[in-house]
Symmetry: C2
Subunit: 335 residues, 2 copies
């Protein structure tokens, strides 16, 4: 069991413990099939739509698992977090349920939908300039001034264990259906979700290959795996996948990645928009650019994944502005 | 058990029999919750997203239950159906799986997405003019010429039993979760889905009130219930809910409606677009205008339904063009 969340790696036991805590709070998202996707890929594909999770992304899982553990004595000082948007929703919603004050440091250019949603959940939003300011610095200052507990987005074993409950659900549901995934594709940024799911599958379905999906130009996880050490992205933003723009993999997640990942693939902006269009026209799901990365990777590497048998893809989030979504769905979906 | 599908009414046994036939063909759609919807309604709401069903609507359930019963001797002559779009997909997909030729009579002004999807499923589409031509007449002529089996959209006990499997799933899943719905809201046009679900709930959850949702100006089910006999809509089309524009309730469905329905509510075009926007922004689901009617009715009659406890809404379809969807999601969702 986790004793130091900033140093330990989560185990299946920690993920099961998180799942018990999430009961009645989060959605046990289903495993979906879609005949059009099966047809274009040439293999059975199972979809885990974390778009349908409370707050519109998987981030609620980790945030609740972390925030619900804050000791009574520390609760009056609230929580602080930095986030491009989805972690913000999970933190704000969890704090709101528990009656804790939440301050979220968000980039000024984050999707309006995400900024407004955090405010709607009762959080105080502190906007910052992605180029000129350090979000870590601002959050640290707020924590020092107020005594608020900092809720890290991924480098925390409780967060990783919380996100891993998505993998526990998928592996358990698949077993009940008699399905064995040859591979799974999961979006990667800091790596909280990917490492949590990889840990669950290591215990429950070790034969399933785990692959990372990243935005082109932000393929730090893929390059770090190849280098055997953490490698950062060049500064600047080249992708519309606002949820996946962390500079490099987290230290704790990368320990799991090194042990469990087979590799990864990157998707361009055009490929992300095409995948969103496919999700609209065929899956009938609203998926944000970063959330659609796994689908984009699958659609652009069909033979690679079809050769491995049944595929699981995680659609990690659906918090997208109407403008961006409109741009995507006007495109003819990949056939 | 059904002996004459054009005269008998389905029972729970028929619905269970249909469910067994649908195994491995259709999706057991989940029951979803959404915190934003609960909050605005003031009661727990459960969502049955038939948008995620194979072919993008519930229609696959009835079509498969009917078409898979066609005798071997009759199969070479294929099937014929008339449909504004969703029944077309269910018929085309079912026929395609079984290797039967399908001819679908569709209005020339049906959403492009629906016409193209039927063709994509291998069907021959015969377009007709909604004002000048009779779809029933064209379909009857094709059936007479080719010997094809006519697949009615709702006035057929096997079709009703097939659609009723959505109710069987919802009632069974709710029981497993320990939920008892005070009311359910289901979209109504010919009434195949509504009567099928009402039949399942009559047996499995008789205390749940069943309410119809209809487009304003096409509230024939509501007016027929009030009159105690089938009443037609005025000719012409006043609603964007292309899936719900049948002139009057079917004869067989209306027998169930009279026995089981508490009443109904109508939704205007603005209310349908607002509901689609709510589904995009909060539920992260792609819902077509007709499919969103139950949600629109709930959002516009919150106190009525909240007073009855937990609510079940059926989102019946998600086959919508990008243009119509864009128009909807630019609207600020109801708060």
């Amino acid at each position: 069991m986790i004793t130091d969340p900033l140093a330990d790696l989560p185990t299946l036991e920690d993920i099961e413990d998180a799942a018990a805590r999430l009961q009645g709070i989060t959605v046990h998202t289903p495993l979906l099939r879609n005949e059009a996707l099966d047809a274009v890929v040439g293999a059975p594909v199972w979809i885990k739509p974390e778009t349908l999770q409370r707050t519109g992304s998987f981030k609620m899982r980790g945030a609740w698992n972390r925030i619900s553990r804050i000791l009574e004595a520390d609760r009056p000082r609230g929580v602080v977090a930095f986030s491009s948007g989805n972690h913000a929703q999970g933190v704000a919603e969890s704090a709101n349920i528990l009656g804790l004050k939440a301050t979220i440091v968000m980039p000024a250019d984050a999707p309006r939908a995400k900024i407004e949603a955090a405010r709607g959940r009762g959080a105080t939003v502190r906007l910052y300039d992605r180029v000129k300011e350090s979000r870590e610095g601002i959050a640290a200052e707020i924590a020092a001034q107020t005594g608020a507990t900092t809720i890290r987005p991924f480098d925390d074993a409780w967060i990783m264990a919380g996100q891993g409950t998505a993998g526990l659900e998928a592996a358990t549901d698949a077993k009940r259906k008699g399905v064995a995934f040859g591979s799974l594709i999961c979006n990667a940024s800091g790596g909280g979700l990917l490492s949590g799911i990889a840990t669950a599958f290591e215990a429950l379905s070790p034969e399933t290959e785990v692959w990372a999906a990243e935005p082109a130009g932000h393929d730090d996880t893929i390059r770090s795996l190849a280098a055997g050490r953490i490698v950062s992205n060049d500064p600047g933003y080249r992708s519309i996948a606002d949820a996946l723009l962390t500079p490099e993999p987290g230290v704790l997640p990368f320990e799991v990645h090194k042990r469990r990942l087979k590799g990864g693939f990157a998707a361009t902006n055009d490929e992300l928009l095409d995948a969103m269009s496919f999700a609209f026209h065929h899956l009938k799901l609203v998926v944000e650019p970063g959330g659609a990365c796994s689908l984009a990777v699958l659609l652009n590497n069909r033979a690679h994944f079809a050769a491995r048998g049944p595929v699981l893809i995680i659609l990690s989030g659906g918090n997208v502005d109407a403008d961006m979504f409109t741009q995507a769905i006007r495109r003819t979906p990949p056939a």
